[in-house]
Symmetry: D2
Subunit: 301 residues, 4 copies
């Protein structure tokens, strides 16, 4: 049977940066201390294509993915990013004409959260993982990225100040010194924040700690179960911790040296946040990229 | 050329409720007092299919839509719902084997809004329209529906009460009688509310007034341009008007007899609202359907 | 602490059809013969609200859902629809003021599929489930619905005929009697089809058989792994089995009496299909609803 | 009123790459030869933020956008990319602390298309535009990008070869020399392709010609209105022009030197394509970036 993909393309053809498959849905199991966690992930697998070849053998991508994650004898993988980086490495084995391979995955992930004992339930987060492999002479060098997105709450610090000004005019009693620390009303809303590290293949980062870091940088986490008293507590605490999107990004990045002391200076951290503003029909966003080395230097006195 | 659609299907075939096309994007122009408004709409056009026919001539649907809304000599239509109902009627002319036709459209729509002069800008809303035609003997009877969705803000009345309880414990000065009416903090969020009327073909409802009715039932409209002072005003006002989703639906339905006195008792009103809760990762919803006659009876003392 | 939800609303308030929470993401485990399958589901839980009550206690919905599906001692549920109907029943226990409760869930689901041994991998489908409970005097009566969506392929029968006409003019040799049965080219595309049964609470329907029924009604299933020879086989077979959306709906409904002989005559079957036409930027759809009794009567000679 | 945004943030704060607003929906009018075209666009506007400032004055972004595109006296803009680049430039005026500004917009766009006279109707495309401004000493330098996405059809060249092999075994008459050029069946599907140029501010590129270039690189454009004979013609022609995603990207890039002779060598072209494979539940993608200079060099003999 003729192999159309392997044919030479028209003379003068271009190399291509990326050829692959995307939106491939797969269940997989990842190992966590003391448990195995099932995930439903969406995968993208791509390689580059040299000028002398008409097509990329895409069925190899789908086949490799099935071998690694869904075949009956598939053992659980160490992590989503471990799956991505090992598949990226092996993609270069199956596409000998390729110089670079990338594997990206996104999966819903659940962790128990609760404002108090007896109120705990599973909250949904998103895991983000990548494996990026490239040939360097005879070797294959792999970078991986591991990240997560958490939905939390932000309360606006600016509207809180200006609302206090306005309320103090109408209610002079609010100016009483005993009420100077009273958190007043402001607009608050859903905030989606992502933190992603790009590191060498052998570096491990625990996804649960990424999610904890994000939640700590928002005005408050959000919860599925909030009885009346809990709801008041969450709302008041969030108003004591008002945050612009700028604050979320800065506070999250600034927390990384202490939270991830083992990460090498060359590790890159990408933070992006979006607040779905309650007072506007549009969103507000902020993002920044820095290496751990830069973040450590910024903290040094 | 063989007409496969007109062939008889296999013996014992079923009639079908709906066969049609959906997601057809079209620009059109609607007439408003003193102006012509351009819209980009997404259309669905469908008819039923009798048992004796293999297929529905779907190219007639696309052709009719083009004739009515996008051909160079197309004059502006009176309204999106007028376009839907007249196309639904004509669909029965082009599918003589059909008993029922439906045409649905959804389009983004802009109206000027502002908290004060000089702060006005165009806010985005969604228009919802339908035409539903059916044969009754020799006649074709058409019902139309006209509606809209507006994004606004809701502030939670329950968390406001419980947050006050909690704050009063920490700040006893908050119990001062002069502060009894002080609006305190609560969670607030984006709220999307739809109001849709189903009426006979000749009944007109002005879309702008539907949008005004929705905005009046939320804790506050939202605005693209809010300078610092404006933002405080919007947030404080919204906290003086806290609303559950239940309140949004009830207040909106209850306002209809006064806002739409010309609508006949047989007009049906559908209201649905979704609050994208800032304290949860999930949404809260409420919906209800009632005729104008029922709503008028509910208001009678 | 004041219970704002239980307060009487303004005089003359309306009852409400539905108040609830939606988009609640939860992992759960369902039992299948010989295995336990993990799912990530999105839930909606709602009840009606009487006129004398301001709000619905929505935290009870979230709490109940957590108790049933995500608490550490949660045992696997029999099925997604069993979870929905038992939660709907219990919702009426926790909202004593409500007359009706509905629970809807949607979840990604995987089954092994392959064109031949060694090519099998997990394909993704969607499970659809509902539980609908209502009070009848002292009793609670529950209906459940169980369904699925499968993505497959449809090849157009009409364009195949007209393309043959056109090709025969250019290639008279194609009119050779030996080529009369040769399947010729036509447009083909992704087709998404849903089948859903609404039945009494005690009726069981196996989701895997629903998916098999859908796949059998499309021109062909689709597969993650297709090596060159497989791909040709799938494409040729699909072209030997061309289908309009009308055919998909009719063939699926017509197959139900034989595929589901145990379903009672009162069971309702809902079928909807959408073909993402390769030759248009819009979709083509068809849908129909019938009871098993009606489908059995239609097959009788 | 206190200006919280202008406050110094905590000591040791970071600069931020991007702070802005996104998902801002606006109608605007662009000038085309002999006509004014209304668009509904979604905008993102962002600037960087220095370390010494707590927040970015985001209301300035919304206000500037309103001034330029939606205020009653707003004159039509020359093009979507002209609006983006002029707004990006002015953003630096209104955020004097910022070094870089970006404005991105996406809008639905319609052009008449038809397989023959009398079959023409408006087809929907997507316009993509950006303005990227940065300070260079006293000057502000602006780059703009202008692009579009078109949905068309691709027919697979590989499955066509392998299907022919398979069919020839079953129908030896198909091997007749007169049928050697007969296009045979293969899988075909919706293809979405984007072409975007990044150029200096003064460079003009006509969006309609970008869309024409994309359509010419797919197996065929797609059309809203196709009567039976037209449909056969489109399908047959597409099968005479089968394309991998690799071919779409290469053919499109290769066509650019001839189609856009006025573009400078430094103009960068980004091409990305996705085929929504009819035989798989997942998509296939390819992408590549090259400068016009590189593309011209690749064509030189």
């Amino acid at each position: 049977m003729k192999d159309v993909h392997a044919l030479p393309p028209r003379p003068g053809s271009l190399t291509l940066d990326r050829v692959g498959i995307s939106g491939v849905r797969k269940p997989l199991r990842i190992e966590r201390p003391g448990r195995v966690v099932p995930l439903s992930a969406s995968f993208t697998l791509a390689v580059d294509l040299p000028a002398h070849r008409k097509g990329s053998d895409l069925s190899r991508n789908a086949e490799l993915l099935a071998e690694r994650v869904d075949w009956p004898d598939a053992t659980p993988v160490a992590s989503l990013e471990a799956a991505c980086s090992s598949i990226a490495r092996e993609l270069l084995g199956r596409h000998p004409y390729a110089e670079r391979a990338e594997v990206r995955a996104e999966a819903e992930y659940f962790l128990p959260r609760g404002v108090r004992p007896g109120r705990s339930s599973l909250e949904n987060f998103t895991l983000l993982a990548e494996g990026l492999a490239r040939r360097e002479g005879e070797r294959i060098v792999v970078r991986r990225s591991i990240g997560a997105e958490a939905v939390g709450l932000t309360a606006c610090p600016c509207a809180m100040e200006t609302a206090r000004d306005l309320l103090e005019k109408e209610y002079p009693a609010l100016r009483a010194p005993e009420l100077a620390q009273l958190p007043v009303l402001t607009h608050n809303q859903r905030n989606r924040t992502r933190l992603r590290f790009e590191v060498d293949e052998e570096v491990e980062v625990e996804a649960d700690r990424i999610i904890e870091a994000i939640e700590a940088a928002q005005s408050s986490p959000t919860y599925a179960i909030l009885k009346r008293g809990d709801e008041a507590r969450v709302v008041v605490d969030a108003h004591r911790n008002p945050k612009f999107v700028e604050d979320v990004v800065r506070d999250l990045l600034t927390s990384l040296p202490e939270r991830f002391p083992d990460l090498p200076d060359g590790a890159a951290a990408f933070v992006g946040t979006v607040s779905e503003e309650s007072i506007h029909k549009y969103d507000v966003l902020a993002s920044h990229t820095a290496t751990l080395g830069e973040l450590r230097a910024a903290r040094a006195p």
